[in-house]
């Protein structure tokens, strides 16, 4: 669509964008247009009332020295009536235009965010947060910007048609001369669009980039602060701000030339009409009065032309914003869901991982031929060095990404065949880095599911989070702030763990989910998991032996491959790399012991 759009002119594209809005909100558009026409008609009526009052009330009054009270009332009523009706027109036009604009913005934002929710992780990883926020905010605003001046422009077209018809009825030759204004306006507009469009595109792109820089920089505020890099960050932001400033100034200069040109063209048209008119009057081809009429009508037309100009002036930014929004809406994710459902059950789920092969992109490390299975109710520990692919594996197990090859089966069903939402009923992942929502503690644990407070507390207790939650000012109703930044890392991890536990998952996946928790608390969490009454199947990514100790089997991952499987003891005995990895702390102790003894 973007290519198709750009081959046509911006003007046509701008009208197409408006067409989308009118089709979507026809009634409110009609209402505001009627308001606009009403306003125009009553502006004319105002002049008529003044003329009528002059002829029938003012002049007789001064001539006769008296006036009839009925007429006075009539004048008052007429003026106020016209003014009130005109006010109604204004309200209908402007409020209608506003509502139409806000509704279209809301429609686009809903559509865009639905895309964000529907598109797969791989798409999200490719698109910076700041840019996506910009798509949903300033691009949407830009796209529907021309709706505000639209009813006014449409309403005044009616005035224009009447004026033009009158011009032709008066003197068609002069009318034709006067009509030269229209192609001139079109040309001016074309020139404006051609010059301004690329700059508007650039400005909109820069707005997104600026938002990206700000977003990232504020996200990393702590690093910036602790390393004293405020100046460098400010320079980075200032460079983008300067780019945007320069583009805006260049676009502004063009706009500055466009507006007066549009204002001057009808006036110049009147001068041409006068020149031709004088000639015609001298040759007796027309009356002076007709020249005056045509010239007057042309000045009447000049205002509508300007209001249409304002409309067209919004087009370049609108088309660019619309295209950017469209590009999100057109993005296609490759994560279709199937229709299979899991058999609901109380016991643990059966997990089968078959020859998985995956990598994020060609430059990235590979997960290759990963193959293991977990019987219901059993616990498997995935152990491996930093960056051996453990987190990627958990992403695959919860279908945040799909494998290139191989498959993951839950109770014998390929994850890709499951209906949307089905996987989440059975599987819960507690990621390494906890993400909390700008919501209450309760909201963060239940995520909107219908769970009693008792169950929430039970889950918090199991996650060893009940203590600090109870100490919060409003307990479960305490709002945690965006991304839970008011809590410590360990506290966030425990809320995130409670979120998983409250769902009573049949397969629970813990990705080093207690790394920020101190040993005592961790021991209590593990105790709670171990003594749980449910036979949850458990996959834990872990380093610590206490956690590994929970496992019936260990899968040793190295450089994206399963290098060994078996019980902890067996692996310790036959696999030196594994032993070194998990016994590091004790070997260290021995080392210290040797040194100090």
């Amino acid at each position: 669509m973007s290519e198709r759009l750009s081959r046509r002119g911006t003007t046509i594209d701008g009208f197409r964008v408006l067409g989308v809005a009118i089709r979507r909100e026809p009634w409110i558009f009609t209402l505001s247009t009627i308001g606009s026409v009403l306003f125009g008609a009553l502006t004319v009526a105002d002049a008529w009332v003044l003329g009528w009052a002059t002829d029938h009330v003012v002049l007789p009054a001064f001539d006769d020295g008296e006036t009839r009270s009925g007429l006075v009332v009539a004048v008052l009523a007429l003026f106020l009536g016209v003014a009130l009706l005109r006010a109604v027109g204004i309200v209908a036009r402007r409020l209608g235009a506003g509502i139409m604009q806000y509704r279209m913005q809301a429609h686009s934002r809903r559509a865009v965010t639905r895309q964000y929710l529907a598109l797969p992780m791989s798409w999200h990883q490719r698109h910076p947060t700041g840019q996506l926020l910009s798509n949903a905010n300033s691009d949407v605003e830009a796209a529907w910007g021309p709706i505000a001046p639209l009813p006014m422009a449409v309403g005044t077209i009616a005035m224009m048609v009447i004026a033009v018809a009158q011009m032709f009825l008066t003197d068609w030759v002069l009318a034709l001369v006067g009509m030269l204004v229209f192609p001139a306006v079109v040309l001016a507009n074309l020139a404006y669009q051609r010059l301004a469009s690329p700059l508007m595109t650039k400005a909109q792109q820069l707005r997104a980039e600026l938002s990206e820089v700000a977003h990232e920089s504020f996200d990393g505020a702590m690093v910036v602060k602790t390393l004293g890099r405020e100046r460098e960050e400010t320079d980075r932001f200032a460079a983008k701000a300067a780019e945007l400033r320069d583009v805006n100034i260049r676009a502004g200069r063009i706009r500055a030339a466009f507006d007066p040109t549009l204002a001057a063209l009808p006036n110049l048209g009147v001068l041409v009409v006068l020149a031709v008119g004088v000639e015609r009057v001298l040759h007796g081809a027309t009356d002076p009065g007709d020249v005056v009429t045509v010239a007057y009508l042309l000045t009447v037309v000049s205002f509508p032309i300007r209001s249409i100009g304002w409309l067209l002036g919004e087009f370049p930014r609108s088309v660019v914003g619309y295209q950017r929004v469209r590009s999100v809406l057109r993005a296609r994710g490759e994560m279709p869901y199937g229709v299979e459902r899991l058999v609901p059950g109380e016991g643990g789920a059966r997990l089968r991982v078959e020859h998985l092969r995956f990598r994020h992109d060609p430059d990235q490390r590979l997960l290759d031929d990963v193959d293991f299975d977990v019987e219901p109710g059993r616990t498997v520990a995935v152990v491996g060095a930093t960056a051996s692919g453990k987190s990627t594996l958990t992403d695959l197990l919860t279908r945040l990404v799909d494998p290139e090859d191989g498959r993951v089966l839950l109770d014998g069903v390929d994850l890709r065949d499951l209906a949307h939402g089905e996987l989440a009923t059975a599987v819960a992942l507690v990621p390494q880095t906890a993400f909390l929502f700008d919501d209450t503690v309760r909201g963060n644990v239940t995520l909107g599911a219908d769970v009693s407070d008792d169950d929430v507390w039970a889950a918090l207790r199991a996650a060893q989070a009940d203590g600090f939650v109870a100490a919060l000012s409003d307990g479960l109703d305490t709002r945690l702030g965006e991304r839970g930044t008011s809590l410590s890392g360990g506290q966030r991890q425990r809320i995130s763990l409670a979120r998983a536990l409250v769902r009573r998952p049949r397969l629970l996946i813990l990705d080093d989910a207690t790394s920020a928790v101190d040993p005592e608390v961790e021991a209590r969490i593990l105790e709670a998991l171990r003594s749980g009454d449910r036979d949850t199947t458990l996959v834990v990514v872990a380093y610590r032996k206490a956690t590994i100790g929970l496992a019936d089997e260990v899968v040793h991952l190295d450089d994206g491959r399963v290098v060994d499987r078996g019980s902890h003891e067996a692996l310790l005995a036959r696999n030196p790399a594994y032993a070194e990895l998990v016994n590091a702390y004790e070997q260290h102790d021995e080392l210290v012991g040797e040194v100090s003894s």
């Binding site: 910009s134 930093t386 990621p431």
Partner: protein
């Protein structure tokens, strides 16, 4: 206010700054706005005079030149035609120059405002940064500034011109008849008097709009930033509902504001109708009294339109301006939020370029409105000591790290480095000498090398590789797909949590601090690597002071000294070997639990 307010501080909304004060303060922040204002005003006068002169000149040409009594007066038409053409040209030129100048000075001024506000966000206390929604902070330096731009270019000057036109029209009217002028003003009085009321209403309404923008942006960012959680818990529907609510609330807030705008604008039209009727009726009445003639009354009817035009234009600009003013206030509000950690700047002291000693002098710290998290802490750390701080989660050990690096100032007492109160140390010097490696080291969407260079801007590739080798991370770097040129993705998410910590460590290593503070800096790294790094760090710590916050006691075992924090107080201090044998002590308990965790399964 939400309860998070008790855990943090928020940014000034600037809500209580008046309109004039906002503009004055705005100009003070962005002096560029004043650039050539005099010349711009002159251009504005020419342009707006032209808007009156051109119609009059054309009117004259028509009436006298063509429609004159003795037939068309060709020479007059030619003369007036030339005059009109010149006037049109001059008006257009003046208008172009004026708008171009306005664009230039506004955009320059606003770029300055943006950058100043951005910088100030970084100067805000960590607590405030954490309390504020990111989206809200971002919108203040992006879309809020854009709102101001529209007003400055299309509104501000036009408002001044409109007021001028209203005054001129009043003077001209008064020349004809002061009584009728009074009538016109009386008819418009309700409008003028209600302007303040509507401005307050509008200001409040647009205030709600701007706040709703922030809420909406925050809601929209959820499926973007928290995509993994949203997907793995299949809570798309709930998330969408939250977003839809925010979108709808923004829509109704905007509609509400629009209602006020529209009503205040339509009042202008009604006032005009009243004025027209009033002039005619009172004019007739005055006529009876012989005060005015019919000609005056009729002329007045036209003068009223000269008055009404700019009044309506002015009201419209004023109402539109409220939106811009609210945004302007919000941006200025950031600048007016105190950066409570005041940098003494030039007058501050410099830290020496060697290992420093540290002293906590009766330090108490509490978050605003909260109970103390650290109480009466007295602590001396000799230069060159490797100190480990241990304690249960929530005991206050991370607070010690934040106070040491002056991310926060103590509520009472003082933290001294080399005998100097941290509050008196220049920020530049402090950041050069003291480096904190936090648990979640944020990475920027760039390469590993670029992220490491946050520690030392001019580090060469060789220096980075050397630092990696020194930390025992050479293998890891070599194993990255593109070495140190590997891109880390947004927030570093292409790397694992452990790898992000490695980058943060490298960053600190290159920064070469005199005091290194590690706050659980290797918690996500595998034990073997953690031990390797630990040993490397020990070597590198020679000649530096280091404070390590750790919950893995393996770190404590190897430190020169251990400090045990419990419920905000230091309860034990000494070498590991001494503390561990103190029966029933907190440390002995922590250690026992650590050992049992390690020893759950035999070897």
């Amino acid at each position: 206010m939400s309860t998070t307010a008790t855990l943090g501080t928020t940014v000034d909304e600037g809500a209580e700054i008046g309109a004039i004060a906002t503009v004055r303060r705005g100009i003070q922040v962005s002096p560029e706005l004043k650039d050539g204002l005099g010349r711009t005003l002159v251009l504005a006068v020419i342009a707006s005079a032209g808007q009156v002169v051109v119609p009059i000149a054309m009117q004259q040409t028509l009436d006298r030149g063509i429609n004159g009594s003795g037939g068309p007066d060709v020479s007059f038409v030619v003369l007036m035609g030339v005059v009109s053409a010149l006037a049109i040209g001059l008006t257009s030129l003046a208008s172009y120059l004026m708008t171009a100048r306005l664009f230039t000075s506004s955009e320059r001024g606003l770029a300055t405002l943006r950058v100043k506000a951005f910088r100030h966000v970084h100067d805000l206390p960590l607590l405030t940064q954490n309390t504020e929604r990111r989206g809200a902070l971002v919108s203040r330096v992006t879309s809020d500034v854009d709102q101001v731009s529209q007003f400055l270019v299309f509104g501000g000057l036009l408002l001044v011109v409109s007021v001028g036109q209203v005054l001129v029209a009043t003077v001209v009217m008064a020349v004809y008849s002061w009584q009728l002028t009074l009538v016109v003003w009386v008819c418009f009085a309700p409008l003028f008097l209600s302007i303040r009321y509507f401005q307050r209403k509008l200001s409040a309404a647009y205030g709600v709009v701007r706040r709703q923008v922030a809420v909406m942006l925050s809601a929209i960012s959820e499926p973007v930033v928290g995509a993994a959680v949203v997907k793995s818990y299949a809570i798309e529907q709930r998330t969408q509902e939250r977003i839809d609510t925010a979108i709808d609330e923004y829509k109704s807030a905007s509609t509400q504001a629009q209602k006020f705008t529209v009503v205040s604008f339509s009042l202008g039209g009604i006032s005009a109708g009243l004025a027209n009727a009033g002039v005619l009726l009172i004019g007739i009445w005055l006529g009876f009294a012989g005060e005015v003639t019919a000609g005056t009354v009729l002329a007045f009817a036209f003068l009223v339109t000269l008055f009404v035009g700019p009044v309506q234009m002015g009201t419209q600009i004023l109402t539109d301006a409220q939106n811009a003013l609210v945004s302007w206030r919000r941006v200025i509000g950031i600048l007016d939020t105190p950066a409570d950690l005041v940098d003494p700047g030039e007058s501050g002291q410099e830290l020496p370029d060697r290992a420093v000693d540290v002293r906590f002098d009766d330090v108490t710290f509490a978050y605003p409105g909260g109970p103390p998290v650290l109480r009466d802490v007295d602590l001396e750390i000799a230069a060159g000591t490797r100190l480990a701080v241990v304690g249960e989660t929530g005991s206050g050990k991370s607070t010690i790290a934040k106070l040491l690096t002056r991310l926060m100032d103590p509520t009472s007492g003082a933290v001294l480095l080399d005998g100097i109160d941290l509050r008196e140390v220049r920020q530049v010097s402090l950041r050069r000498s003291v480096v904190l490696v936090p648990q979640e080291g944020f990475l920027f969407d760039d390469t590993v090398a670029a992220n490491v260079r946050y520690g030392r801007l001019d580090a060469t590739a060789e220096q980075i590789l050397t630092a990696a080798d020194e930390l025992g991370l050479g293998d890891w770097v070599a194993g990255l797909p593109a070495g140190i040129d590997t891109r880390v993705g947004q927030r570093g998410e292409s790397l694992s949590a452990g790898e992000r910590q490695l980058v943060a460590l490298l960053r600190a290593q290159l920064a070469d601090p005199d005091l290194l503070v590690l706050d659980e800096a290797t918690s996500a790294v595998d034990p073997a690597l953690e031990m390797r790094i630990g040993r490397a760090l020990e070597r590198l710590m020679t000649g530096r002071t280091s404070v390590t916050i750790a919950h893995r006691l393996s770190t404590a075992e190897n430190a020169d000294e251990v400090v045990v924090v419990d419920r905000g107080r230091i309860v034990q201090r000494g070498p590991h070997a001494v503390l561990v044998v103190q029966e029933g002590s907190v440390y002995a308990g922590l250690h026992a639990s650590w050992v049992s965790q390690q020893g759950t399964i035999g070897r």
